[in-house]
């Protein structure tokens, strides 16, 4: 950075500074271009392929392509519809339970005077929320699977426990959804100012009245947003279920994987695309609920 090259523009007249600003505009714009081109190519093109493939059919002999609603219709029938419903049920249930547990844990951490407990919980939540997927499935197989340690010790099989079922998946999903809820709600609970509680108490409100009229209304958008985020996460999860249950629980992610890897009839790829489109629509609705809620909660918890 030799001074001789950079000083002339800065020591120039007012006109010089405006030309510099004008020159800076297009240059900074160029810096954002690689990102936009990349996402357009590597994200936009596959998305376009999903949308196009889901609504068209190409004749293998003539190569002619025609529009059809057949794939979408088939993705909403029979076993495919069942898998969509199964996914929605599992995600809804796990998100609800994990949401409640997460709020309880977060509240316990926030009201605790111990900084160490708080730091440890947040760090642990950060790790565990990312501990989905294959390793988690194996940890649970080793714990409460058929020959798992706890299964053997407590004779869970005799009690009717089966890890490779809807209930089993619920218990496993809670393992990464609950920490995620803790991460989402701790900031929101921190945002409840102690002054509000003091004001309510000075005016004679009981603890329940404080939560009913102040705490929950302020927190509601954050909590709903957290629930929706958990729902989306559980809905999109595939690796855990794939490593754990294979095909015994109907889930849309497993059905897509089956269709893609050709485990079912050939020519099902377009149904897989249609199912992918269904998933994107549902996940898109979820985000359309989540983002405004997050913005709303930010207004109070700033």
């Amino acid at each position: 950075m030799s001074a001789s090259t950079t000083i002339p523009p800065t020591t120039g007249t007012a006109g010089g500074s405006t030309t510099r600003r004008r020159r800076r505009g297009p240059r900074t714009w160029l810096a954002a271009l690689p990102l936009l081109v990349f996402t357009g190519l590597c994200f936009g093109v596959p998305l376009g392929a999903i949308a196009f493939g889901a609504v068209t059919r190409t004749d293998p002999v003539s190569g002619a392509t025609e529009a059809t609603g057949e794939h979408l219709a088939r993705s909403l029938q029979g076993p495919y519809l069942g898998s969509l419903i199964g996914s929605v049920q599992l995600s809804g249930l796990t998100a609800l339970v994990a949401g409640v547990l997460g709020v309880l844990i977060a509240q316990a951490v926030v009201t605790s005077p111990s900084r160490a407990l708080r730091g440890a919980t947040l760090t642990a939540s950060g790790v565990l929320a990312n501990f989905g997927g294959v390793p988690l499935a194996f940890a649970f197989i080793a714990t409460v699977g058929i020959s798992g340690v706890v299964t053997q010790l407590a004779d869970l099989t005799g009690l009717g426990w089966n890890l490779y079922s809807f209930t089993g998946l619920t218990v496993v999903y809670l393992y990464f959804l609950t920490p995620l809820m803790v991460l989402v709600t701790v900031p929101a609970l921190d945002g409840l100012r102690p002054q509000w509680r003091e004001a309510a108490q000075n005016n004679g409100a009981s603890g329940w009245q404080f939560w009913r009229h102040v705490g929950l209304p302020v927190l509601a958008p954050s909590l709903l947003g957290g629930f929706v985020l958990l729902f989306g996460t559980a809905f999109a999860a595939h690796a855990t279920a794939a490593a754990l249950v294979g095909g015994s629980v109907p889930l849309v992610t497993l059905k897509i994987a089956d269709a893609l890897s050709g485990n079912v009839l050939t020519g099902q790829e377009n149904v897989a695309l249609a199912l992918g489109l269904d998933m994107i629509v549902i996940a898109g609705l979820v985000m359309a609920v989540y983002l405004p809620l997050q913005r709303r909660s930010a207004r109070w918890l700033r």
């Binding site: 090259t5 800065t10 950060g126 501990f131 294959v134 194996f138 340690v149 004679g204």
Partner: protein
């Protein structure tokens, strides 16, 4: 907005406590104590602290103990599972045999290579774009944000259906064009670039949030103005002024990306490659103990990385983008209120 109620509380809070019959016993006690306190301001603090300190301690302890048991049990049980062979006693074979296991080194190196490439690619794409949006092109900001957050809406399994479709175009339509060679090169099993591209897409939301939080904490335009006024060149400004201020955010973005790539299973397995997560599943049938041992190790390594990272910056800031935003906003809120 019911949230406004703290201020007009007289018609909201005081009236019900005056009729304590409807309220449960603890609330009744609180109400009476509070009415006493309002008369005598000085000792008001002591009873309230007593209340918030002793009564919730019971449920707090119960909640934390139950949560701790639930979250520790699988980890402990997994460890016991790996070292204890029923009928044979304790052995660490599952861990010692790991290094020599078929495919372990190859798949781990592949995953680490993919992670390095993905981190480089996502940072090279996101940092210039975000800095540019900060200092020169604020109007691009919503575009960049939407582009970066969109992958959150698309589940990986849906993305991979799109990718397989696009990859099939190669042999079907492009076999006579030079693009075909690109399609083949991208799917080279020794280093599948297509996975790097897909992972970069998946990592963008996390990278964006981490960097955005980092950039929001520093006044980039002022720093740039100041550095430029002192005669610094553009490369110097970026390398010596902006990037050092973003160190924590960059480390956080890199860590999240690393964790994402090391654990990614869906895309790699459906495209037919074998990085680490896919390898674990492939050996689970024949070497159940070893696959669990690898899972335990992967969690420990992740934990260690996170701890190292939190030493480098502030602890909660690197845990999640959400907490980063919070810790800063709570600091500014002190000034506002």
């Amino acid at each position: 907005m019911a949230a406004m109620t703290p201020t007009p509380a007289p018609n909201d809070g005081a009236a019900p406590t005056a009729a304590p019959g409807a309220a449960p016993a603890p609330a009744d006690r609180d109400g009476q104590r509070d009415r006493q306190e309002t008369g005598v301001p000085a000792p008001a603090r002591a009873p309230r602290r007593f209340r918030s300190g002793s009564r919730p301690r019971v449920w707090r302890g119960a909640v934390l103990a139950l949560a701790g048991a639930y979250f520790l049990l699988p980890l402990l049980a997994s460890f016991v599972f790996t070292v204890h062979v029923p009928g044979q006693g304790v052995s660490f074979e599952a861990y010692t045999q790991l290094l020599g296991a078929e495919g372990f080194t190859r798949s781990l190196l592949l995953s680490l290579g993919l992670a390095a490439a993905t981190i480089t690619a996502s940072l090279l794409l996101a940092v210039p774009a975000l800095v540019a949006v900060r200092i020169g092109s604020p109007r691009l900001r919503p575009v960049v944000e939407v582009m970066c957050m969109m992958p959150l809406v698309v589940p990986p399994i849906a993305l991979v259906t799109g990718i397989t479709t696009v990859l099939r175009w190669g042999p079907e339509h492009l076999s006579r064009t030079p693009l075909y060679q690109t399609f083949l090169a991208v799917q080279n099993p020794d280093f599948p670039l297509v996975l790097v591209l897909a992972y970069t897409v998946l990592a963008l939301p996390f990278v964006y949030r981490s960097l955005d939080a980092g950039l929001r904490a520093v006044d980039v335009p002022t720093l740039v103005e100041a550095a430029r006024s002192c005669g610094a060149s553009w490369p110097y400004v970026v390398l010596r002024v902006i990037l050092p201020n973003l160190r924590t955010a960059l480390a956080g973005a890199a860590f999240l990306t690393l964790a994402l790539v090391l654990g990614e299973f869906t895309i790699a397995s459906l495209l037919g490659f074998q990085p680490f997560a896919v390898w674990i599943v492939s050996i689970s049938g024949a070497h159940a103990r070893m696959s669990v041992a690898v899972s335990v190790l992967s969690l420990l390594i992740t934990w260690l990385l996170l701890l190292l990272l939190s030493r480098a910056g502030t602890a909660p800031a690197t845990v999640s983008p959400g907490t980063t935003r919070h810790s800063r906003t709570s600091r500014t809120s002190g000034k506002e209120s």
